[in-house]
Point group: C2
Chain length 265, copies 2
Protein backbone atom coordinates (compact mmCIF):
# COMPACT_ATOMS: atom_id res chain seq x y z
CA UNK A 1 0.00 0.00 0.00
CA UNK A 2 1.27 3.44 -0.88
CA UNK A 3 1.25 5.59 2.24
CA UNK A 4 0.48 9.31 2.11
CA UNK A 5 3.17 11.74 3.16
CA UNK A 6 3.23 13.50 6.53
CA UNK A 7 5.59 16.20 7.78
CA UNK A 8 5.90 16.73 11.53
CA UNK A 9 7.52 20.14 11.92
CA UNK A 10 8.85 21.59 15.15
CA UNK A 11 9.50 25.30 15.68
CA UNK A 12 11.06 27.09 18.65
CA UNK A 13 11.69 30.53 20.05
CA UNK A 14 13.43 32.00 16.97
CA UNK A 15 10.15 31.67 15.06
CA UNK A 16 7.66 32.27 17.87
CA UNK A 17 9.34 35.40 19.27
CA UNK A 18 9.70 37.19 15.93
CA UNK A 19 6.48 38.20 14.20
CA UNK A 20 8.11 38.55 10.76
CA UNK A 21 9.79 35.12 10.98
CA UNK A 22 6.55 33.59 12.21
CA UNK A 23 4.46 34.92 9.33
CA UNK A 24 7.03 33.84 6.72
CA UNK A 25 7.19 30.42 8.31
CA UNK A 26 3.40 29.99 8.50
CA UNK A 27 3.04 30.93 4.82
CA UNK A 28 5.71 28.37 3.85
CA UNK A 29 4.08 25.80 6.14
CA UNK A 30 0.73 26.39 4.39
CA UNK A 31 2.33 25.96 0.95
CA UNK A 32 3.77 22.56 1.87
CA UNK A 33 1.73 19.73 0.35
CA UNK A 34 0.50 16.55 2.05
CA UNK A 35 -0.45 15.98 5.68
CA UNK A 36 1.21 18.23 8.25
CA UNK A 37 1.53 18.57 12.02
CA UNK A 38 3.09 21.60 13.69
CA UNK A 39 4.69 21.37 17.15
CA UNK A 40 5.77 24.48 19.00
CA UNK A 41 7.57 25.18 22.23
CA UNK A 42 7.44 28.32 24.30
CA UNK A 43 9.46 31.43 23.80
CA UNK A 44 10.34 34.62 25.55
CA UNK A 45 6.69 35.44 26.05
CA UNK A 46 6.38 32.75 28.77
CA UNK A 47 9.20 34.42 30.69
CA UNK A 48 7.63 37.86 30.18
CA UNK A 49 4.25 36.69 31.48
CA UNK A 50 5.93 34.96 34.44
CA UNK A 51 7.77 38.12 35.34
CA UNK A 52 4.70 40.34 35.04
CA UNK A 53 2.85 37.94 37.38
CA UNK A 54 5.76 37.85 39.82
CA UNK A 55 6.49 34.13 39.29
CA UNK A 56 10.20 33.41 39.24
CA UNK A 57 11.66 30.83 36.87
CA UNK A 58 13.42 28.14 38.90
CA UNK A 59 16.17 26.27 37.07
CA UNK A 60 18.27 23.37 38.34
CA UNK A 61 21.18 22.18 36.18
CA UNK A 62 19.81 24.28 33.32
CA UNK A 63 16.39 22.62 33.43
CA UNK A 64 13.21 24.43 34.33
CA UNK A 65 11.29 23.31 37.40
CA UNK A 66 7.55 23.28 36.68
CA UNK A 67 5.96 24.17 40.01
CA UNK A 68 2.20 24.76 40.18
CA UNK A 69 2.46 28.47 39.35
CA UNK A 70 4.75 27.76 36.39
CA UNK A 71 2.34 25.09 35.12
CA UNK A 72 -0.51 27.63 35.23
CA UNK A 73 1.61 30.06 33.22
CA UNK A 74 2.72 27.56 30.57
CA UNK A 75 -0.89 26.36 30.25
CA UNK A 76 -1.95 29.95 29.59
CA UNK A 77 0.96 30.89 27.33
CA UNK A 78 1.68 27.67 25.40
CA UNK A 79 -1.89 26.30 25.29
CA UNK A 80 -3.65 29.66 24.96
CA UNK A 81 -1.69 32.68 23.79
CA UNK A 82 0.90 31.15 21.45
CA UNK A 83 -1.10 28.17 20.23
CA UNK A 84 -4.35 30.00 19.43
CA UNK A 85 -2.58 32.90 17.74
CA UNK A 86 -0.69 30.47 15.51
CA UNK A 87 -3.99 28.74 14.69
CA UNK A 88 -5.70 32.06 13.84
CA UNK A 89 -2.77 33.02 11.56
CA UNK A 90 -2.75 29.63 9.86
CA UNK A 91 -6.49 29.95 9.20
CA UNK A 92 -5.78 33.32 7.61
CA UNK A 93 -3.29 31.71 5.25
CA UNK A 94 -5.61 28.83 4.41
CA UNK A 95 -4.43 25.99 6.66
CA UNK A 96 -7.34 24.41 8.54
CA UNK A 97 -5.39 24.31 11.81
CA UNK A 98 -6.66 22.99 15.12
CA UNK A 99 -4.70 23.85 18.27
CA UNK A 100 -4.05 21.10 20.78
CA UNK A 101 -2.39 19.94 23.95
CA UNK A 102 -1.79 16.25 24.57
CA UNK A 103 -4.91 16.23 26.79
CA UNK A 104 -7.13 17.08 23.83
CA UNK A 105 -8.41 13.90 22.23
CA UNK A 106 -6.18 12.04 24.71
CA UNK A 107 -3.61 12.39 21.92
CA UNK A 108 -0.45 12.42 24.09
CA UNK A 109 -0.30 10.86 27.51
CA UNK A 110 2.75 11.24 29.73
CA UNK A 111 3.96 10.19 33.16
CA UNK A 112 4.86 12.79 35.76
CA UNK A 113 8.64 12.64 36.13
CA UNK A 114 9.47 10.68 39.30
CA UNK A 115 11.16 12.60 42.10
CA UNK A 116 14.71 11.33 42.57
CA UNK A 117 17.35 13.85 43.62
CA UNK A 118 15.52 16.70 41.92
CA UNK A 119 11.77 17.33 41.91
CA UNK A 120 11.01 18.71 38.45
CA UNK A 121 7.40 19.33 39.45
CA UNK A 122 4.74 18.94 36.77
CA UNK A 123 7.09 17.75 34.04
CA UNK A 124 5.84 14.87 31.90
CA UNK A 125 7.92 12.14 30.27
CA UNK A 126 6.66 10.21 27.29
CA UNK A 127 6.50 6.43 27.22
CA UNK A 128 6.25 3.91 24.39
CA UNK A 129 2.45 4.03 24.42
CA UNK A 130 2.05 7.78 24.87
CA UNK A 131 0.62 8.41 21.44
CA UNK A 132 -2.46 7.03 19.77
CA UNK A 133 -1.74 7.37 16.02
CA UNK A 134 -5.21 6.24 14.85
CA UNK A 135 -6.87 8.98 16.85
CA UNK A 136 -4.61 11.71 15.41
CA UNK A 137 -5.09 10.12 11.98
CA UNK A 138 -8.84 10.78 12.27
CA UNK A 139 -8.12 14.52 12.51
CA UNK A 140 -5.69 14.45 9.59
CA UNK A 141 -8.04 12.41 7.43
CA UNK A 142 -10.87 14.85 8.23
CA UNK A 143 -8.79 17.69 6.74
CA UNK A 144 -7.53 19.27 9.97
CA UNK A 145 -3.91 20.25 10.59
CA UNK A 146 -3.00 19.67 14.26
CA UNK A 147 -0.88 22.30 16.03
CA UNK A 148 0.53 20.85 19.25
CA UNK A 149 2.00 22.86 22.10
CA UNK A 150 4.41 21.45 24.69
CA UNK A 151 1.75 20.16 27.10
CA UNK A 152 0.60 16.62 27.76
CA UNK A 153 -1.59 15.01 30.45
CA UNK A 154 -1.45 11.97 32.70
CA UNK A 155 -5.00 10.74 32.05
CA UNK A 156 -5.88 11.50 35.68
CA UNK A 157 -6.71 15.16 35.13
CA UNK A 158 -3.19 16.54 35.43
CA UNK A 159 -1.62 18.63 32.67
CA UNK A 160 2.16 18.21 32.34
CA UNK A 161 4.91 20.34 30.79
CA UNK A 162 6.73 18.25 28.15
CA UNK A 163 9.68 19.00 25.89
CA UNK A 164 8.50 20.00 22.40
CA UNK A 165 11.42 18.26 20.59
CA UNK A 166 10.46 15.02 22.33
CA UNK A 167 6.78 15.46 21.43
CA UNK A 168 7.65 16.05 17.77
CA UNK A 169 9.87 12.98 17.63
CA UNK A 170 7.32 10.74 19.38
CA UNK A 171 4.53 11.95 17.07
CA UNK A 172 6.66 11.22 14.00
CA UNK A 173 7.55 7.73 15.21
CA UNK A 174 3.96 6.82 16.14
CA UNK A 175 2.49 8.22 12.93
CA UNK A 176 5.07 6.51 10.73
CA UNK A 177 2.87 3.40 11.13
CA UNK A 178 0.20 5.17 9.09
CA UNK A 179 2.02 7.75 6.97
CA UNK A 180 5.27 8.15 5.09
CA UNK A 181 6.64 10.48 7.77
CA UNK A 182 9.41 13.08 7.75
CA UNK A 183 10.37 14.90 10.96
CA UNK A 184 11.60 18.48 10.55
CA UNK A 185 13.38 20.47 13.26
CA UNK A 186 13.48 24.18 12.49
CA UNK A 187 16.04 26.19 14.38
CA UNK A 188 18.33 29.22 13.97
CA UNK A 189 21.09 27.53 11.92
CA UNK A 190 21.02 26.32 8.32
CA UNK A 191 21.48 22.73 9.50
CA UNK A 192 24.41 20.59 10.57
CA UNK A 193 27.56 22.56 9.78
CA UNK A 194 31.01 21.18 9.04
CA UNK A 195 32.32 24.34 10.74
CA UNK A 196 29.99 25.72 13.42
CA UNK A 197 31.03 29.30 12.62
CA UNK A 198 30.52 29.01 8.87
CA UNK A 199 26.90 28.90 7.64
CA UNK A 200 28.23 27.99 4.16
CA UNK A 201 29.64 24.71 5.47
CA UNK A 202 26.21 23.04 5.57
CA UNK A 203 26.27 19.25 5.28
CA UNK A 204 23.36 18.32 3.00
CA UNK A 205 23.00 14.62 3.71
CA UNK A 206 24.06 12.41 6.59
CA UNK A 207 23.39 8.69 6.70
CA UNK A 208 24.19 6.45 9.62
CA UNK A 209 27.61 5.52 8.23
CA UNK A 210 28.60 9.12 7.69
CA UNK A 211 27.22 10.04 11.13
CA UNK A 212 29.56 7.51 12.78
CA UNK A 213 32.48 8.96 10.83
CA UNK A 214 31.54 12.57 11.72
CA UNK A 215 31.42 11.58 15.37
CA UNK A 216 34.78 9.79 15.17
CA UNK A 217 36.32 12.84 13.44
CA UNK A 218 34.73 15.09 16.11
CA UNK A 219 33.17 17.28 13.40
CA UNK A 220 29.77 17.38 15.08
CA UNK A 221 29.44 19.99 17.75
CA UNK A 222 28.71 18.59 21.21
CA UNK A 223 25.39 20.47 21.52
CA UNK A 224 24.24 18.79 18.31
CA UNK A 225 24.98 15.24 19.48
CA UNK A 226 21.84 14.53 21.55
CA UNK A 227 19.61 16.10 18.83
CA UNK A 228 21.21 13.86 16.20
CA UNK A 229 21.16 10.76 18.37
CA UNK A 230 17.43 11.32 18.89
CA UNK A 231 16.99 11.84 15.16
CA UNK A 232 18.67 8.54 14.27
CA UNK A 233 16.63 6.78 16.95
CA UNK A 234 13.45 8.14 15.31
CA UNK A 235 14.72 6.90 11.94
CA UNK A 236 15.43 3.44 13.34
CA UNK A 237 11.83 3.43 14.65
CA UNK A 238 10.23 4.04 11.25
CA UNK A 239 10.58 7.74 10.43
CA UNK A 240 11.75 8.07 6.82
CA UNK A 241 14.04 11.05 7.34
CA UNK A 242 14.79 13.81 9.81
CA UNK A 243 15.58 17.26 8.46
CA UNK A 244 17.32 19.91 10.55
CA UNK A 245 17.26 23.40 9.06
CA UNK A 246 16.57 27.10 9.42
CA UNK A 247 12.92 28.11 9.82
CA UNK A 248 13.36 30.80 7.15
CA UNK A 249 14.24 28.15 4.56
CA UNK A 250 11.19 25.89 4.92
CA UNK A 251 9.96 27.09 1.52
CA UNK A 252 12.89 25.18 -0.06
CA UNK A 253 11.40 21.91 1.19
CA UNK A 254 8.37 22.32 -1.06
CA UNK A 255 10.54 23.03 -4.07
CA UNK A 256 12.66 20.01 -3.19
CA UNK A 257 15.68 22.27 -3.54
CA UNK A 258 17.36 20.83 -0.53
CA UNK A 259 16.50 22.30 2.83
CA UNK A 260 18.85 21.97 5.79
CA UNK A 261 20.56 18.69 6.61
CA UNK A 262 18.72 15.52 5.75
CA UNK A 263 19.37 12.55 8.04
CA UNK A 264 18.38 9.09 6.86
CA UNK A 265 19.40 5.44 7.13
CA UNK B 1 -34.27 9.91 8.67
CA UNK B 2 -33.89 9.56 12.42
CA UNK B 3 -31.35 12.12 13.64
CA UNK B 4 -29.01 11.42 16.54
CA UNK B 5 -29.34 13.51 19.67
CA UNK B 6 -26.98 16.36 20.56
CA UNK B 7 -26.84 18.44 23.73
CA UNK B 8 -25.09 21.82 23.58
CA UNK B 9 -24.44 22.74 27.21
CA UNK B 10 -23.25 26.12 28.43
CA UNK B 11 -21.66 26.69 31.85
CA UNK B 12 -20.59 29.91 33.51
CA UNK B 13 -18.73 31.23 36.52
CA UNK B 14 -20.68 29.34 39.20
CA UNK B 15 -19.30 26.06 37.80
CA UNK B 16 -15.87 27.25 36.63
CA UNK B 17 -14.93 29.08 39.82
CA UNK B 18 -15.82 26.28 42.21
CA UNK B 19 -13.74 23.13 41.98
CA UNK B 20 -16.35 20.94 43.70
CA UNK B 21 -19.17 22.14 41.44
CA UNK B 22 -16.98 21.71 38.39
CA UNK B 23 -16.08 18.10 39.17
CA UNK B 24 -19.69 17.16 39.91
CA UNK B 25 -20.78 18.83 36.69
CA UNK B 26 -18.10 17.15 34.56
CA UNK B 27 -19.05 13.72 35.93
CA UNK B 28 -22.72 14.35 35.13
CA UNK B 29 -21.74 15.69 31.70
CA UNK B 30 -19.76 12.50 31.03
CA UNK B 31 -22.72 10.32 32.07
CA UNK B 32 -25.05 12.03 29.59
CA UNK B 33 -25.62 9.87 26.51
CA UNK B 34 -25.47 10.95 22.85
CA UNK B 35 -23.41 13.66 21.20
CA UNK B 36 -22.38 16.59 23.40
CA UNK B 37 -20.73 19.98 23.09
CA UNK B 38 -19.63 22.04 26.10
CA UNK B 39 -19.37 25.83 25.96
CA UNK B 40 -17.78 27.78 28.79
CA UNK B 41 -17.32 31.44 29.56
CA UNK B 42 -14.71 32.97 31.81
CA UNK B 43 -14.91 33.35 35.54
CA UNK B 44 -13.20 35.08 38.39
CA UNK B 45 -9.83 33.68 37.30
CA UNK B 46 -9.71 36.08 34.31
CA UNK B 47 -10.12 39.02 36.68
CA UNK B 48 -7.48 37.58 39.03
CA UNK B 49 -4.95 37.12 36.22
CA UNK B 50 -5.70 40.62 34.89
CA UNK B 51 -5.11 42.12 38.30
CA UNK B 52 -1.88 40.22 38.89
CA UNK B 53 -0.62 41.48 35.51
CA UNK B 54 -1.72 45.05 36.27
CA UNK B 55 -4.31 45.15 33.48
CA UNK B 56 -7.47 46.98 34.57
CA UNK B 57 -10.89 45.77 33.44
CA UNK B 58 -12.62 48.56 31.52
CA UNK B 59 -16.41 48.43 31.51
CA UNK B 60 -18.83 50.74 29.70
CA UNK B 61 -22.55 50.34 30.43
CA UNK B 62 -21.79 47.05 32.17
CA UNK B 63 -20.01 45.58 29.13
CA UNK B 64 -16.34 44.72 29.08
CA UNK B 65 -14.07 46.53 26.63
CA UNK B 66 -11.64 44.06 25.03
CA UNK B 67 -8.52 46.12 24.43
CA UNK B 68 -5.36 44.38 23.19
CA UNK B 69 -4.11 43.56 26.71
CA UNK B 70 -7.50 42.18 27.71
CA UNK B 71 -7.60 40.06 24.55
CA UNK B 72 -4.20 38.58 25.45
CA UNK B 73 -5.47 37.73 28.91
CA UNK B 74 -8.73 36.14 27.77
CA UNK B 75 -6.80 34.15 25.15
CA UNK B 76 -4.54 32.84 27.91
CA UNK B 77 -7.26 32.26 30.49
CA UNK B 78 -10.26 31.13 28.41
CA UNK B 79 -8.34 29.36 25.62
CA UNK B 80 -5.53 28.00 27.81
CA UNK B 81 -6.02 27.77 31.55
CA UNK B 82 -9.76 27.12 31.87
CA UNK B 83 -10.29 25.24 28.60
CA UNK B 84 -7.36 22.84 28.89
CA UNK B 85 -8.00 22.07 32.55
CA UNK B 86 -11.63 21.22 31.74
CA UNK B 87 -10.39 18.99 28.90
CA UNK B 88 -7.89 17.20 31.17
CA UNK B 89 -10.61 16.60 33.78
CA UNK B 90 -13.09 15.34 31.18
CA UNK B 91 -10.44 12.92 29.89
CA UNK B 92 -10.03 11.68 33.46
CA UNK B 93 -13.76 10.95 33.67
CA UNK B 94 -13.82 9.26 30.26
CA UNK B 95 -15.08 11.96 27.89
CA UNK B 96 -12.84 12.25 24.84
CA UNK B 97 -12.84 16.06 24.97
CA UNK B 98 -11.06 18.38 22.59
CA UNK B 99 -10.65 22.03 23.60
CA UNK B 100 -11.34 24.70 21.01
CA UNK B 101 -11.72 28.34 20.14
CA UNK B 102 -13.69 29.37 17.10
CA UNK B 103 -10.39 29.78 15.21
CA UNK B 104 -9.65 26.05 15.53
CA UNK B 105 -11.00 24.23 12.50
CA UNK B 106 -12.45 27.60 11.41
CA UNK B 107 -15.44 26.43 13.43
CA UNK B 108 -16.78 29.85 14.46
CA UNK B 109 -16.10 32.99 12.49
CA UNK B 110 -17.18 36.40 13.78
CA UNK B 111 -17.05 40.05 12.75
CA UNK B 112 -15.26 42.59 14.90
CA UNK B 113 -17.97 44.77 16.43
CA UNK B 114 -18.10 48.04 14.46
CA UNK B 115 -17.15 51.18 16.36
CA UNK B 116 -20.19 53.41 16.79
CA UNK B 117 -20.45 55.46 19.96
CA UNK B 118 -18.42 52.93 21.93
CA UNK B 119 -15.33 51.04 20.77
CA UNK B 120 -15.66 47.58 22.30
CA UNK B 121 -12.23 46.64 20.99
CA UNK B 122 -11.67 43.01 19.99
CA UNK B 123 -15.24 41.88 20.55
CA UNK B 124 -16.70 39.58 17.92
CA UNK B 125 -20.34 39.35 16.84
CA UNK B 126 -21.71 36.26 15.16
CA UNK B 127 -23.48 36.37 11.81
CA UNK B 128 -25.83 33.93 10.08
CA UNK B 129 -22.96 32.08 8.44
CA UNK B 130 -20.59 32.04 11.42
CA UNK B 131 -20.76 28.32 12.01
CA UNK B 132 -19.92 25.43 9.72
CA UNK B 133 -21.99 22.52 11.10
CA UNK B 134 -20.51 19.88 8.75
CA UNK B 135 -17.01 20.61 10.01
CA UNK B 136 -18.01 20.30 13.68
CA UNK B 137 -19.98 17.20 12.76
CA UNK B 138 -16.74 15.56 11.58
CA UNK B 139 -15.33 15.90 15.08
CA UNK B 140 -18.49 14.57 16.72
CA UNK B 141 -18.74 11.66 14.30
CA UNK B 142 -15.05 10.81 14.98
CA UNK B 143 -15.88 10.39 18.67
CA UNK B 144 -14.58 13.71 19.99
CA UNK B 145 -16.51 15.97 22.36
CA UNK B 146 -15.80 19.63 21.55
CA UNK B 147 -15.27 22.06 24.43
CA UNK B 148 -15.57 25.64 23.19
CA UNK B 149 -14.38 28.72 25.04
CA UNK B 150 -15.67 32.23 24.40
CA UNK B 151 -13.23 33.10 21.61
CA UNK B 152 -13.82 33.30 17.87
CA UNK B 153 -11.79 34.66 14.94
CA UNK B 154 -12.37 36.86 11.92
CA UNK B 155 -10.62 34.64 9.36
CA UNK B 156 -7.94 37.31 8.90
CA UNK B 157 -5.77 36.21 11.80
CA UNK B 158 -7.57 38.10 14.55
CA UNK B 159 -8.96 36.35 17.63
CA UNK B 160 -12.13 37.95 19.05
CA UNK B 161 -13.82 37.83 22.44
CA UNK B 162 -17.39 36.57 21.98
CA UNK B 163 -20.25 36.02 24.43
CA UNK B 164 -20.49 32.35 25.45
CA UNK B 165 -24.32 32.31 25.64
CA UNK B 166 -24.42 33.54 22.04
CA UNK B 167 -21.88 30.93 20.91
CA UNK B 168 -23.90 28.14 22.56
CA UNK B 169 -27.12 29.30 20.94
CA UNK B 170 -25.53 29.69 17.48
CA UNK B 171 -23.91 26.24 17.71
CA UNK B 172 -27.26 24.67 18.67
CA UNK B 173 -29.08 26.38 15.81
CA UNK B 174 -26.44 25.47 13.19
CA UNK B 175 -26.12 21.87 14.37
CA UNK B 176 -29.89 21.33 14.50
CA UNK B 177 -29.60 20.80 10.71
CA UNK B 178 -27.68 17.60 11.44
CA UNK B 179 -28.71 16.49 14.93
CA UNK B 180 -31.79 16.44 17.13
CA UNK B 181 -30.43 19.31 19.24
CA UNK B 182 -31.22 20.49 22.77
CA UNK B 183 -29.57 23.63 24.15
CA UNK B 184 -28.91 23.67 27.90
CA UNK B 185 -28.03 26.77 29.90
CA UNK B 186 -26.62 25.92 33.32
CA UNK B 187 -26.69 28.72 35.86
CA UNK B 188 -27.10 29.29 39.60
CA UNK B 189 -30.90 28.97 39.81
CA UNK B 190 -33.08 25.88 39.43
CA UNK B 191 -34.65 27.36 36.30
CA UNK B 192 -37.41 29.85 35.57
CA UNK B 193 -39.15 30.56 38.88
CA UNK B 194 -42.75 31.71 39.40
CA UNK B 195 -41.41 33.64 42.41
CA UNK B 196 -37.78 34.75 42.01
CA UNK B 197 -37.16 34.35 45.76
CA UNK B 198 -38.61 30.84 46.02
CA UNK B 199 -36.53 28.00 44.51
CA UNK B 200 -39.51 25.69 45.00
CA UNK B 201 -41.59 27.70 42.55
CA UNK B 202 -39.84 26.23 39.50
CA UNK B 203 -41.87 26.23 36.30
CA UNK B 204 -41.17 22.88 34.60
CA UNK B 205 -42.42 23.54 31.08
CA UNK B 206 -42.98 26.70 29.09
CA UNK B 207 -44.29 26.67 25.55
CA UNK B 208 -44.67 29.75 23.37
CA UNK B 209 -48.31 30.25 24.42
CA UNK B 210 -47.50 30.07 28.12
CA UNK B 211 -44.48 32.33 27.59
CA UNK B 212 -46.72 35.05 26.15
CA UNK B 213 -49.06 34.69 29.13
CA UNK B 214 -46.18 34.79 31.66
CA UNK B 215 -44.93 37.97 30.02
CA UNK B 216 -48.43 39.54 30.05
CA UNK B 217 -48.83 38.62 33.74
CA UNK B 218 -45.33 40.02 34.43
CA UNK B 219 -44.32 36.77 36.14
CA UNK B 220 -40.99 36.56 34.36
CA UNK B 221 -38.23 38.57 35.94
CA UNK B 222 -36.84 41.30 33.71
CA UNK B 223 -33.27 39.84 33.77
CA UNK B 224 -34.69 36.59 32.42
CA UNK B 225 -36.47 38.19 29.44
CA UNK B 226 -33.55 38.50 26.98
CA UNK B 227 -32.36 34.96 27.87
CA UNK B 228 -35.80 33.57 27.17
CA UNK B 229 -36.34 35.63 24.02
CA UNK B 230 -33.04 34.22 22.70
CA UNK B 231 -34.12 30.73 23.67
CA UNK B 232 -37.40 30.98 21.76
CA UNK B 233 -35.53 32.42 18.77
CA UNK B 234 -33.24 29.35 18.81
CA UNK B 235 -36.31 27.11 18.99
CA UNK B 236 -37.91 28.89 16.04
CA UNK B 237 -34.63 28.26 14.14
CA UNK B 238 -34.69 24.49 14.59
CA UNK B 239 -33.49 23.72 18.14
CA UNK B 240 -35.84 21.13 19.66
CA UNK B 241 -35.84 22.52 23.18
CA UNK B 242 -33.92 24.87 25.45
CA UNK B 243 -33.43 23.88 29.07
CA UNK B 244 -32.47 26.41 31.74
CA UNK B 245 -31.37 24.85 35.02
CA UNK B 246 -28.87 24.61 37.85
CA UNK B 247 -25.48 23.10 37.00
CA UNK B 248 -25.72 20.83 40.08
CA UNK B 249 -28.85 19.19 38.68
CA UNK B 250 -27.52 18.13 35.25
CA UNK B 251 -27.58 14.49 36.42
CA UNK B 252 -31.41 14.69 36.40
CA UNK B 253 -31.34 15.22 32.64
CA UNK B 254 -29.93 11.75 32.08
CA UNK B 255 -32.55 10.17 34.28
CA UNK B 256 -35.22 12.16 32.44
CA UNK B 257 -36.50 13.20 35.85
CA UNK B 258 -37.06 16.72 34.77
CA UNK B 259 -34.19 19.14 34.97
CA UNK B 260 -34.78 22.89 35.18
CA UNK B 261 -37.27 24.62 32.94
CA UNK B 262 -37.86 23.18 29.51
CA UNK B 263 -38.77 25.65 26.79
CA UNK B 264 -40.27 24.35 23.56
CA UNK B 265 -42.72 25.27 20.81
Amino acid sequence: MCMQTLHVIKIGGNVIDNSENLHRFLKDFTALEGFKILVHGGGKVATQVSESMGVEARMIDGRRITDIDTLRIVTMVYGGLINKNIVAQLQRYGTNAIGLTGADGNFIRAKKRPVKIIDYGFAGDLTENSINPESIGKLLDSGFTPVFCALTHDGEGQLLNTNADTIASALAVALSELYDTTLVYCFEKKGVLQDIDDEDSLIREIDLERYEKLKTDQIIHSGMLPKMDNAFTAISCGVKAVIIGHSDDLGQLKKDKGFGTRLSK
